[in-house]
Amino acid sequence: MNYHKISLTVNGSQEDVIVPSNMTLMRMLRETLALTGTKNGCSAGECGACTVLMNGEPINSCMVLAVECDGATLLTVEGLAQDGHLAPIQAALIEAGGVQCGFCTPGVLISAVALLRRNPDPDEAEIREALVGNLCRCTGYERIIESVKVAAKKQAALAFTTA
């Protein structure tokens, strides 16, 4: 097995790690950096529970090798809250009841963040489309979709107050 030293930014913090060639980004986050918020639901890129932002784009971290992340900037669920304050989408998920067992929640949050960055005011069809790769077995999705709408409003309000 070959090992590689890579440097990357995870949730704003610079990390140098040594990873074997076959280690996925998901395993590196969970096992090497102990960022266990990113979940392993299928290891096959199908359930979305391990979604993280890589250079601003949502990806299934189980489908990317850690070595591919040399020089990358990553955002995981642990990086959403700032200085102890929940991000609007996190607060919205609590407020609108979009959390049940919570296992899909980190992936849902990251996909929603990617959507809201791309489109701060998505309509329902756009929200459904953006989250179609995040399987949830508990909620029936209704409250997750509602959460994204609430977060969009919160973000708009935030932008208004800081403007």
Partner: protein, 784 residues
């Protein structure tokens, strides 16, 4: 019950936010796979049978054992005991015979997962392949190969009736009234056969168990679990461990739906760990393994014969259920029983004959899944009710109106129905879906339809399933609530905190939960199954709160020289209605209060305890299924669906789903609605997409690509949840469970809506686009 009545101290019926949500949205919540065990951790993998049915002739593990990095290899020889919840029919690792594809034959623990997997390839197993049983109806016949020749010797619970010398692991019967006479009085009779496929639970979190046996033999198991106490009991018994030397720690659970109840893969991890003392051993199922080795929802072949008179009064029902129980029957035998005593659905039927058989097959192990037999059984029954109505030219809602259970209705088991809001659920669901109003389809190549179904379900459990709770008071006036139930996503912890706050008399924010559940420190709970936690654990919490309250009030009454009846706890303070004195709990619950004459102190640390067990449940006659009170109670409800069938593709789009359930009392209304929504979509998913495709006993679709569950694109465009509240006499604030019920009537409601749209009935779900299109082609509705 608590007298506290201010808004803060009585958060019953308030939609408080989930207590576990902040941890879950920040990634801080620790699921079993997230716990770090350091370098001592070993990884386990399991060698599984490739055959559905075979004798094991020889196993050679020497090469696997010699592989560097391998720390242990175990086989059935190492563990001779049987395990099973109601019927002890399994070895932990197979000893003489394999009974399904995936049956564990050997286990390996190694320093890395890759090494453990490589070791599996080095284990040689020689089989003598036997003919498999792949159909439950055939399996119940005298010509079928016998899968468990030892059935007559197995240890079995006294309410389960296996038939030795056959593949029937339970035969439940109802014999009530006079069938011959009843059929003669019928104006219309419907006879139908339905098939319900195996489906999987698909919690997003796969099964994981980490077991460690320390030098002195003390065992700890960390796992994703709905049943930590049952696991402690069953695994300890089977492996000859003292029960109190076995500890199960159950962290946050990433979904269960029944799949993480009882004992499945957890015993494998513990068994392997006994051979590598001191090392934590982790067994994490791959998603592929999840699909074919976790409990599947049992398949069902059901026959219904139902008759009514000209006025629509149902007179007779004859049902035969063949449950595809799979290779072993952890819960399957009791699902068969539950479907038997619930066989009439929520209707009063004077004449009933039912045979419900649990049948061993060489399919994956059948287990409980959200609804415990009720979605499977209602799927056929509620379509028959529609067809019966059509046959006597009556509106299906009207037929249901005339037959649905009300208080004092006589049940199939002979007992009487308690007060129920079923009729109200029916009316509200029908109204919300616009029953009787025809809306045009959204385009000319679509047909639109509406369907409705009723349901009932009791918590299916042994008559002595108990709950307990404790409440400890802290110096700062907070209370800590100890419970042994699990929050598998349904919100049990939040509701428990609401009930403790209300029953004791402190603000909701003053309640802390002693979690995760740990059998060493948490109070006993039978299992988090059967939608019984709000009701059963809730009663234990009330009892614990009352015990603690009484201690506090007695203390203050003595110190103030007042009567206890004049005191109450409101918003975290003890108040006197008589003298208007007030004292905060902060000051008294640990250190006590000075005696009135100053001669010393009263009181001391306060802990309240409470337990609950429904002691009033009676047995049923094994020949007739008759008895006074078969179950604790039934939750009832209705769902209605509006959908469109695309004539070009056969695709079904759910436009609107309505759910109305009588929950007795909604402790947290928004979370009750969230359960209704989640169950509805899980039901839609099972109706439109889900089927474990088995070919010769081999699962063909063990991935999310081939086994599809509903996504955001499949959830209904509109959902409406309606709460009906007819209180349960022995429920906390009148509450009944709702977790499973919300999935029960969905499949027949959809099937009835499809029939309304295109006039076609199917013999079973899933109603895939392909199946629907081909049926429309056959019926001449569309042309090639």
């Amino acid at each position: 019950m608590a007298k506290g009545n201010s808004e803060h101290t009585h958060p019953i019926g308030e939609s408080t936010k989930r207590v576990d949500a902040p941890d879950k949205v920040t990634g801080a919540a620790l699921y079993a796979d997230d716990i770090q065990f350091g370098n001592a951790l070993l990884h386990a993998r399991v060698k599984r049978s490739p055959h559905p049915h075979a004798l094991i002739k020889r196993i050679n593990i020497e090469k696997a054992r010699a592989l560097p990095g391998v720390k242990a290899v175990v086989t059935g020889e190492d563990f001779p005991g049987h395990i099973g919840l109601y019927l002890q029919d399994r070895y932990i690792f197979c000893r003489d015979r394999v009974r399904y594809v995936g049956d564990p034959v050997a286990g390996v623990a190694a320093t890395r997962v890759e090494i453990a997997e490589a070791a599996l390839d080095l284990i040689e197993v020689e089989y003598e392949v036997l003919p498999p049983v792949l159909d439950p109806e055939f399996g119940a016949s005298p010509t079928a190969p016998i899968i468990h020749p030892e059935l007559g010797q197995y240890v079995v619970a006294n309410f389960i009736m296996p038939v030795a010398g056959t593949n029937i692991s339970n035969h439940f019967k109802i014999r009530k009234g006079n069938m011959t006479e009843a059929w003669g009085q019928c104006a219309a009779i419907i006879e139908r056969k339905y098939r319900i496929p195996h489906i999987q639970h698909v919690p997003l979190e796969p099964h994981v168990a980490i077991a460690k046996v320390d030098a002195s033999g003390e065992v700890t198991l960390w796992d994703s679990s709905q049943s930590p106490f049952a696991q402690r009991d069953l695994i300890a018994q089977t492996l000859g461990i003292n029960q109190s030397s076995m500890r199960v720690v159950a962290p946050v659970v990433g979904g269960g739906f029944g799949g993480k109840a009882g004992v499945s893969m957890e015993s494998l991890a513990v068994a392997i760990a006994t051979k590598v003392r001191g090392h934590p051993v982790k067994l994490l199922l791959t998603r592929e393994e999840e699909f074919y080795t976790a409990f599947v929802r049992q398949g069902l072949i059901s026959y219904f014969k139902i008759g009514c008179d000209a006025s629509g009064k149902i007179l007779a029902m004859e049902n035969t259920f063949y449950w595809d129980g799979g290779a072993y029957t952890e819960y399957g035998v009791n699902i068969t029983r539950a479907a038997g005593y619930s066989c009439t659905g929520p209707y009063e039927v004077p004449n009933v004959k039912t045979d419900s058989y649990c049948v061993y097959t060489n399919h994956p192990v059948g287990g409980p899944m959200r609804g415990f037999g009720m979605p499977e059984m209602h799927a056929g029954l509620e379509q028959c009710i529609d067809d019966l109505a059509y046959q006597i030219r009556m509106d299906p809602v009207e037929l249901r109106r005339r037959n649905c259970l009300t208080e004092h209705s006589i049940l199939a088991t002979g007992g009487k129905m308690h007060p129920t809001g079923l009729a109200e659920c029916l009316e509200k669901a029908a109204q919300a879906i616009g029953w009787g109003k025809v809306a045009p389809p959204s385009s000319p190549n679509k047909r639109r339809g509406k369907g409705l179904a009723l349901m009932w379900k009791a918590p299916a459990m042994p008559p002595n399933a108990g709950s307990s709770a404790w409440i400890e008071l802290s110096e700062d006036g907070m209370i800590t609530l100890g419970i042994g139930c699990q929050d598998i996503g349904q919100g049990a912890f939040t509701v428990a905190a609401q009930m403790a706050a209300a029953a004791f008399g402190v603000p909701f924010e003053s309640v802390r939960l002693a979690t995760p559940v740990d059998t060493r420190y948490s109070p006993y709970e039978w299992q988090t199954v059967a939608s019984r936690i709000t009701w059963s654990t809730g009663n234990a919490i009330i009892n614990a709160a009352n015990d603690a309250r009484t201690q506090v009030l007695e203390l203050v009454a003595n110190a103030w020289e007042e009567n206890i009846d004049d005191l109450d706890i409101i918003d975290g303070s003890v108040v006197s209605f008589k003298t208007e004195k007030e004292i905060s709990l902060k000051k008294l619950v640990v250190y006590g209060l000075p005696k009135p004459d100053g001669s010393g102190w009263l009181g001391g640390p306060i802990i309240g305890r409470g337990s609950f067990m429904p002691t009033y449940v009676t047995g049923l006659d094994p020949e007739t299924g008759q008895g006074e009170q078969a179950v604790v109670h039934f939750t009832t409800g209705a769902q209605a669906i509006e959908l469109e069938v695309d004539l070009d593709s056969g695709k079904i789009e759910i436009l609107k789903g309505v759910a109305a359930f009588d929950v007795g009392k909604a402790i947290n209304p928004e979370m009750v609605k969230a359960q209704m929504e989640g169950g509805l979509v899980q039901g839609i998913s099972s109706a439109l997409f889900e089927q474990l495709q088995l070919k010769g006993g081999v699962v063909q679709n063990a991935s999310f690509v081939d086994y599809r569950i509903a996504t955001t694109a499949d959830a209904p465009l509109k959902m409406q949840s309606i709460i009906v509240e007819v209180p349960q006499a022995d429920g906390p604030w009148g509450a009944r469970g709702i977790g499973e019920h919300s999935m029960v009537p969905t499949v027949p409601a959809i099937a009835n809506a499809i029939y309304d749209a295109i006039g076609i009935r199917f013999d079973g779900p899933p109603f895939t686009a392909e199946k629907v299109y081909l049926a429309m082609l056959d019926a001449g509705i569309v042309k090639e």
